[in-house]
């Protein structure tokens, strides 16, 4: 009989790392007692490219192993594995020989896990099978939906986690009203109205004899169906006017759940019953009001408050609340597209309010804004509806060409407006753009004709450096004013693109400046170049390569809408059918990166751009490694599509 102490020790070490961290202790112990532990000194080869597959997969328990490909005597680093990394997984799935070589980079303790055992685990556990599907795809260096698998895997892990955090933070749960006032369907409307007014409540639930919910009567029902109707209906039974059926749910719902439910159903009351259906006894009720007041943070309320604000100071308060909301949503793993829609709505409302306040303030000072139609443009990440955290503002102002004699005067007015608005935005927490790409700068506060000239210059005589700084303009989005001006500008750009052949190639080349890193090794970012950085710039190394590529393709495909990077990839998936899978992977990858950046930013109270590798857990690292592979694929596709290898610098 094997030693429990030793098996348990090995099992404890195994279950520190995915996928074994989610398995039952007995299963991990069974695996532990089947494995052997090998010690290797630095420089030893574990296997070589071309070697026959061993009947085992390997996990680094201590030390480091480098995986490399070799071509013409040249070694190409593919990955560096550290504690908890699994390699040599081809053995699990069959095939004949290794496609990479594995060499010990630091003296290592390696767990050799029988392939047969792992196959058994894969058959028995969903989590293990998804994990190895991802690992295998990675080792094959092919896409094959690796990311999708990996995302499912991450979701599985995180949904468990968010469940836990939800139990820990009970405050995030919406507390239903338990002592619900109810009535039978047979009492008269008049009696029901009396109960409501006596109890000072806005609604009353109609229930059957065994307390199953039948319908609801609200103030609105009384107003519309009783008071506004001719004749006397007050003596009719309530069943005639009640709204039925009611929307039933089970208890223990979080704020985020309820907000989403409210958005989805457009309802304002939700009944909690024993089993969540109308056929079980009523336990409580949650109204819109309960949801809003449960945390004091609700997007609808924040929007309302922003729209009603008459002081600049209130805008910052509300935007801070939005950040709190963001924190809750992120904590509960709410979908990123949902979060960014809400935050963008709030940001936009804030900009609209800032413009309104500015116009009023200008008028007070005696400036009268010309009646020239104008349009406020958001640029860069806010233009792409991706500004979850408050970073620098990038904006511009576009107006209809005024008659020649008014030119100077009109521009002066709009620049004055731009100054006011950017200052209000700054006070609301959006830092001024250091490069002064703002509507307060007369260079970026121009009539349509000048804007068209700008774009024409960028497109017809592209110059790499100038173009790099100009990319944010290609993400413009109208936020306030006459959107037809923005549409006109976009149409102009498309016309120039047709004339300026070669521009898209430059644009694409610009998008390829940054090849993705390989992955992480302990506290370093591993680069193909072998210059390893100890900080990960998620914006320039992962997000920009994806958003740049999406922009190029969106313009190539002449997509007129103002879309986010994720929306662009979804649209491109339909337009570029052969690349459909890759586009969907890229969209998922970008959402993952947005979330990671927000989490990091909220943790550090920063823009979230720079991530310390040590703050990333194993799963995030593995996800990022898959994301980097996707970025590499996107860049390869872009390269082929625009035949960039043939263009000289």
């Amino acid at each position: 009989m094997a030693s429990n102490t030793i098996v348990e020790r090995v099992a404890a070490d195994l279950s520190k790392y995915p996928p074994f961290d989610v398995l039952e202790p007995a299963v991990v112990q069974d695996l532990a007692s089947s494995l052997s532990i090998h010690y290797h000194e630095e420089g030893e080869m574990i296997f070589r490219k071309g070697d026959t597959l061993r009947e085992a997969a390997f996990m680094v328990m201590k030390g480091a192993v480098r995986l490399f490909d070799s071509m013409d005597d040249e070694e190409i680093l593919v990955d560096l594995c550290d504690e908890g990394d699994i390699f040599g997984v081809r053995a699990i799935f069959g095939g004949s020989s290794y496609v990479l070589s594995a060499q010990v980079a630091e003296e290592s303790l390696i767990y050799e896990m029988p392939a047969e055992k792992i196959r058994g685990l894969i058959a028995a556990s969903n989590a293990v099978s998804m994990f190895f599907a991802g690992e295998f795809a990675k080792s094959m260096q092919v896409m094959e939906r690796s990311l999708t698998n990996a995302f499912d895997q991450r979701k599985l892990r995180y949904s468990e986690q968010s469940c836990r955090s939800f139990l820990e933070h009970e405050t995030l749960e919406v507390k239903p009203v338990a002592n619900v006032i109810t009535c039978s369907p047979d009492i008269t409307i008049r009696e029901a109205a009396k109960i409501m007014s006596d109890c000072n409540i806005g609604s009353i639930l109609v229930v059957s004899a065994d307390n199953h919910p039948l319908g609801i009567i609200t103030d609105t029902d009384l107003r519309k169906k009783v008071v506004a109707q001719p004749g006397s209906v007050k003596e009719q039974p309530v069943r005639d006017i009640m709204s039925s059926p009611v929307y039933t749910i089970t208890g223990r719902k979080t704020v985020a759940d309820m907000v989403m439910l409210m958005v989805k159903t457009k309802l304002r009351h939700f009944c909690i019953t024993e089993d969540g259906t109308v056929n079980s006894p009523l336990q409580g009720i949650i109204s819109e009001h309960d949801i809003i007041t449960s945390e004091g943070n609700n997007p609808a309320v924040i929007m309302k408050e922003i729209m009603a604000a008459d002081q600049v100071g209130q805008l910052k308060v509300e935007r801070d609340k939005a950040e709190h909301l963001l924190r809750i949503y992120i904590g509960q793993d709410v979908a990123v597209h949902f979060i960014s829609n809400i935050i963008t709505e709030i940001n936009d409302a804030l900009i609209v309010k800032a413009i309104g306040l500015s116009i009023a303030s200008l008028e007070k000072e005696g400036w009268l804004l010309p009646d020239t139609p104008f349009c406020w443009l958001s640029l860069g990440s806010e233009g792409r509806k991706e500004q979850l955290l408050r970073t620098d503002q990038d904006n511009a102002l576009l107006y209809l060409d005024p008659p020649e004699y008014l030119k100077a005067e009109v521009q002066a007015s709009f620049v004055a407006l731009g100054r006011k608005v950017t200052s209000i935005l700054e006070q609301s927490g959006f830092a001024l753009c250091p490069a002064e790409v703002m509507a307060s700068n007369d260079e970026w506060c121009q009539p349509v004709s000048v804007w068209k000239k700008y774009f024409s210059r960028w497109i017809l005589t592209p110059e790499p450096k100038a173009l790099m700084n100009a990319t944010i303009f290609f993400d413009f989005r109208p936020v306030y004013g006459d959107a037809s001006l923005a549409a006109d500008l976009k149409k102009g750009i498309f016309e120039e693109l047709a004339r300026g052949r070669g521009f898209l190639e430059f644009f694409a080349k610009n998008a390829l400046q940054n090849p993705p890193p390989l992955g992480f090794f302990r506290n370093f970012l591993v680069e193909k170049s072998r210059d390893h950085a100890n900080e990960f710039d998620i914006k320039s190394r992962a997000m920009m390569p994806l958003s740049d590529a999406a922009r190029v393709l969106a313009y190539e495909q002449r997509i007129p809408d103002y879309l986010s990077t994720v929306e662009r990839y979804h649209r491109l998936a339909d337009l570029l059918l052969p690349e459909k899978d890759l586009c969907l992977e890229a969209a998922a990858a970008y959402e993952f990166l947005m979330r990671l950046r927000v989490v990091n930013g909220l943790d550090q109270g920063s823009s979230g751009r720079y991530i310390k590798p040590e703050s990333l857990n194993k799963i995030d690292r593995q996800m990022l490694r898959n994301v980097f592979t996707t970025i590499g694929q996107v860049q390869k596709t872009l390269n082929m599509r625009f035949q960039l290898d043939y263009i000289r610098d």
Partner: protein, 232 residues
């Protein structure tokens, strides 16, 4: 030679059915010594440790034995052994503070005879490895002598001596700093994470990891066969 004599005498008792089958099996396996030219990769090593009621090899008792095997440089987790021995007393206060086993734990153990027979079955003719092996061997021999009139016949490697030999040369015998070759110190020197210290199985597992590193070091010093390792 004397080993051979004891084995044959004992096997004679086996034929008279006066020794249990596991002991006889052990004796038969150990009739032949390991060949000096056997490559290290082909040898099964059993790394073991005992916890005792004290340090007197004549009077103190074994309260647990833990072991794990090693072959072809690999620790085989599943091929391990652990047994608690039922004893009347767990030792003086000092010993209890080392192994942490209390009366109530020991009460769950098996009797000495069963424990040591199981151990014989597990080790067979493997090469035994232990930290300061002399003491653990003597403790097991005390039991074997008491119950069966035999002793251990396996080849033995002491990790402390092997480490000394590899670090300072084979004939280094000068006084070294006290404690330099204790398990804790060796583990630290060979960067082995300490876990489950002072349980026999935990210490056996640590010793196995230490031995694994010493073997790697041996290979570099040209030690590749049983003969050179055992200095025969």
């Amino acid at each position: 030679m004397i080993d051979r004599l004891i084995i044959e005498t004992a096997l004679y008792r086996c034929r008279n059915n006066s020794l249990p089958e596991s002991v006889c099996r052990y004796l038969r396996l150990n009739r032949k010594k390991i060949h000096v030219a056997t490559p290290l990769a082909d040898i099964r090593f059993v790394v073991f440790d005992t916890e005792t009621t004290g340090f007197d090899v004549r009077h103190d008792k074994i309260i647990s034995i833990g072991a794990v095997s090693l072959r072809a440089q690999r620790i085989l987790v599943g091929d391990s052994f652990e047994v608690l021995v039922r004893q009347e007393k767990v030792g003086d206060r000092e010993a209890v503070s080392v192994h942490g086993l209390l009366c109530k734990d020991i009460a769950f153990g098996v009797d000495e005879r069963t424990a040591v027979s199981g151990f014989l079955d597990y080790i067979g003719n493997s090469v035994l490895v232990a930290q300061h092996a002399g003491f653990d061997i003597a403790m097991v021999n005390q039991l074997l002598s008491r119950y069966f009139g035999i002793r251990l016949f396996n080849d033995v490697i002491d990790t402390a001596s092997l480490a000394k030999r590899l670090e300072k040369g084979p004939y280094y015998n000068l006084a070294h700093k006290v404690g330099e070759y204790k398990l804790d110190a060796l583990c630290e020197r060979y960067s082995i994470r300490l876990h489950d210290r002072h349980t026999s199985a935990g210490d056996a597992y640590l010793t196995a990891q230490l031995y694994q590193r010493l073997l790697a070091k041996s290979r570099k010093s040209g030690i590749k066969t049983a003969g050179t390792l055992l200095m025969k």
